[in-house]
Structure formats: structure tokens, C-alpha cells
């Protein structure tokens, strides 16, 4: 087991969400998520990827953005939207970019990573990947980010890390960073071929199928081995009041 190195992030601090706290991301950075990055997800979708409306399996990484309204820190509440019964808690390894990377080869991709952390990619369950899913992925508080930044040199088995989800203290889900369509280095290289990943940006490597559901009143923790841990309560979102 490697030692956890927790430190100040060396990146601009941003005030966010309900209370002011430090997150490893600045308002002028972007958090990118990746869907369908597990082979098992693609297998489960099978022939449907060659039928309407997709017509072919994806060739480039299937990307989405978790905008600043989704960013929260450890302990901050995840509001459960009033129009959904439960949300998925998707544990994912997150790469924090240390220096700009543009069209970088897989062999040198990890040299551009400042460190890794764990993110809970909270999602309203959906099975349709045709249109951008901002109502499912971009609600307030849907991207809790841990406070630990793990030095890449401390991780020896980047492509075989155990990731866990606990709900109310109970271990409900164990995942791994093996079985990815694009392992970490390949993913970062392929994204950097589409646009520049900037210093301070975060790339979520992906959530495996079977992410557990959480409801208002639950406490959800996501962990990557002994490196990084993040726990947040899920609360009922206050009923909508139309503000004047």
C-alpha cells in the first residue's frame, strides 16, 4: 500500500456550492467525464449500438462535462432532485492534469498528470446515450470531488485499482480500473487528440456498470483502495419555489 499524500492542490481555490471550500479545480477549468468506457458496458449494450439511433459503436471517447454547479467537496450534501426517486453513485478514478496536453501519445500521457483522486459521478439513471444528458449528469452537487491528490508515482497498478462504494457504512459495490475500453493513459491521449486538456482540468476515467442507487437520507462513500476516500450525505432537494 502506498502512502497517501494529502496536500494543498497548488491550483487556484474556488468558492463553490453551498459553502466556501477548497476543491482541486478552478472555475476556469473543465471536468470531463467519459461514458461507455468499460468493455462490460459495451457488451451489455451489444447489438443495440449498431441499430437506431446510434448505427455504429462509438469510435472516439464518449465525453460529457460536469460543470461548476456540480462540484462539491467532502461532506457537502448531494441534493436529490425532487423529480427522481434515486440517483446512481458512480465511483471513478479522476486524473488531475498538471500541464497542458495536446495530441500526446499514450506513452507520455501520464507525465502530464499532476495526480489522481476519487470522484463520485452522481447520475440520474438513463439508458439513452443519443442526446447530451445534462438533466441526468449536471444537476447541482452531482460531482463530489475528494480532497486527496495522489502522486502518480505512488500508484503501481493504475489499471487494476480496486474502487468501492459504501452506503450508510455498508460495502455495496466493488469495481476495478481493469476492463476499460481505454485504460488511463490511452484515454488521456485520445482525449488530447480531440482538444487540449489544460493544467487543472480533471478527467473522470469512467464508472463501471452496476453503480448503486442512493436516496435521500443515505450517506454515500466512494473509495479507491487506501488512497482516496470521499463521503457525502444525500438530502432531499428543497421543493422548487419559483423565484421572482
Amino acid at each position: 500500500m502506498a502512502r497517501i499524500r494529502s496536500r494543498s492542490w497548488g491550483i487556484e481555490i474556488v468558492a463553490c456550492a453551498a459553502r466556501s471550500m477548497s476543491l482541486p479545480i478552478a472555475g476556469r477549468n473543465t471536468v470531463y467525464g467519459v461514458a461507455l468506457n468499460y468493455k462490460s458496458t459495451l457488451l451489455s449494450l451489444g447489438c443495440s449500438l449498431s441499430a437506431k439511433p446510434y448505427w455504429a459503436p462509438p469510435s472516439a471517447p464518449v465525453l460529457y462535462i460536469k460543470p461548476p454547479n456540480t462540484w462539491i467537496g467532502p461532506g457537502d450534501p448531494i441534493p436529490l432532485p425532487t423529480d427522481v426517486a434515486a440517483v446512481q453513485a458512480g465511483v471513478t478514478l479522476a486524473a488531475v492534469i498538471g500541464r497542458d496536453m495536446c495530441r500526446v501519445r499514450p506513452e507520455s500521457a501520464l507525465m502530464h498528470v499532476e495526480g489522481f483522486t476519487v470522484v463520485n459521478d452522481v447520475t440520474v439513471p438513463h439508458s439513452d446515450y443519443f442526446r447530451p444528458a445534462i438533466q441526468n449528469r449536471c444537476r447541482d452537487g452531482f460531482c463530489p470531488i475528494a480532497a486527496q491528490l495522489i502522486d502518480p508515482e505512488q500508484i503501481t497498478a493504475l489499471d487494476a485499482l480496486e474502487m468501492r462504494v459504501r452506503v450508510n457504512g455498508e460495502l455495496v459495490c466493488v469495481q476495478s480500473t481493469c476492463g476499460l475500453v481505454r485504460p488511463v493513459a490511452n484515454l488521456l491521449a485520445d482525449v488530447s487528440a480531440l482538444f487540449t486538456l489544460a493544467a487543472g482540468d480533471i478527467v473522470l476515467i469512467g464508472s463501471a456498470p452496476g453503480a448503486p442507487l442512493v436516496r435521500a437520507g443515505d450517506r454515500v462513500a466512494v473509495e479507491i483502495e487506501e488512497f482516496a476516500r470521499l463521503e457525502n450525505p444525500v438530502i432531499a432537494e428543497p421543493a422548487a419555489r419559483l423565484s421572482p
Binding site: 464518449v62 454547479n69 447530451p132 445534462i134 487540449t196 423565484s243
Partner: protein
Amino acid sequence: MRRGRVLYQDRMHAAVPDPVGLKLDDGRVLRETDVVWLPPVEPRTVFAVGLNYSDHAKELAFKPQSEPLVFLKGQRSLAGHRASTERPIDAAFMHYECELAVIIGHTARNVAAAHALAYVAGYTVANDYAVRDYLENYYRPNLRAKSRDGATLLGPWLIDGQELGDPQDLELRTLVNGHVTQRGHTRDMIHGVAQLIAYLSSFMTLSPGDVILTGTPAGVVNVAAGDEVVTEIDGIGRLSNFLVAEHSSASHKVNGHG
């Protein structure tokens, strides 16, 4: 009032229009070619709305959207007036999109459409390029087609919302090398500015600095390296952009999978 942001001699300045070109916050008057233009605000979340003019939806053979089709942009996609934008050498079809850009001025959550315009700081002009060759049917329009470096232009000026008046009464057009290729009117939006703010704020919080690109009318045509593309909206401004061939350095190309 109109305001912009520019880099001059490696420093960032606020600027206002001047008969010569622009006036910096320290009083110096410059020509518009003397500075590097930034987007007129520092953008936070950038939303874009697809298929929001029925004539353009028809042009692309899609049914108009009953619910707004909204996608997001990465920060690196943004650039300002007079920027050079790279055009991929292998792409057969890359087109501009002239769009009204709305800048949010106040935190907005569950805002009714009737009050939504009070949450607007102002407006600017956008040119939101798309590379159609890179479209795939996953979270379409996907980031590869719509979030390329420096392919979403904003500027040159932010005009105050109060000063502009009705955002649904504006003519917009695009000129490629001086010839008008796209013409439309914001009254033909399927979801108007107020409806878009009400829609987005019904499920997420909008914050000052958020930008909503409200879609483009019919008339998108392929453009080439060497072209000058001007998108303009009456009463707001004229945003100029230059297309250049993509640098073909030792590059990593995306590997197909599946």
C-alpha cells in the same frame, strides 16, 4: 454600455468602443488590430442549444426539439474577436454558426420565464463552429465536433441587457469573405432566451458568467482555411474570425474502438 476584454502588451485590460477602435481602461486608444481580443466576459459554464431555429433543424433533416437540446463546452473551446481558428485538414465539412450569446448576471434557480430576462447581464455575438465529419450518435452533438480548441468565438463587445431591449427582435447574419451566406431573425427561435433560462434553471443553478449560445438559423455552408468569417447581430456587434489550416505536427490521432 458596451465593454470588452483585451490583452495588450501582455496585460489584460477592460475596453470600451472608440471611433478609432477601442479605448483601454487606462485611457489609451488603440486600433482593433493592436490587441488580442478575449471573450468579453470570463465564461463559466458555456451552454449551447442545438436545433433551435426550425429552418436550421429542417436544413439538417431533424425535427425541431420539443425540449431544448442543450450541450456544454470545454473552456479551451473559447476565443475572442479576430482569433484564428484551426480547420482540420481531413474534414470535408466544417461550418460556422452565428448565434446570439446570453451572459447570465445573477444566480438563477427555478426562475419563471416571465422574470427570466432580469437575470441577464448582457449579450454578445458568437460563432460556434462545428466539424460535421466528427459527429457521432453518442451525446450528439459530441465534444469532438463541438468543443475543439478555439472554435467557439465570443465578442467583441458585451452589451447590457437593459440597453439592448428585446432579444427576440434581432437580425443576425454571417458573411464569408464579405458575402452574406446566412441570415436569420431571433424571433424565429423555437425556445426564446427567457424560456431557455427558465428551462435550465428548473433543474440546475445558473451563475454570473454562465453563457447560453441560443442556436443558429439556416444557412450553414462549408468554409476553408484562408476564409474570413464574420458573424454579426444588429445592435450587438460584428465578430470576425480567420480560418487557418490545422498544424500537422507529430500528432496523436484518436484510435477507433469497438
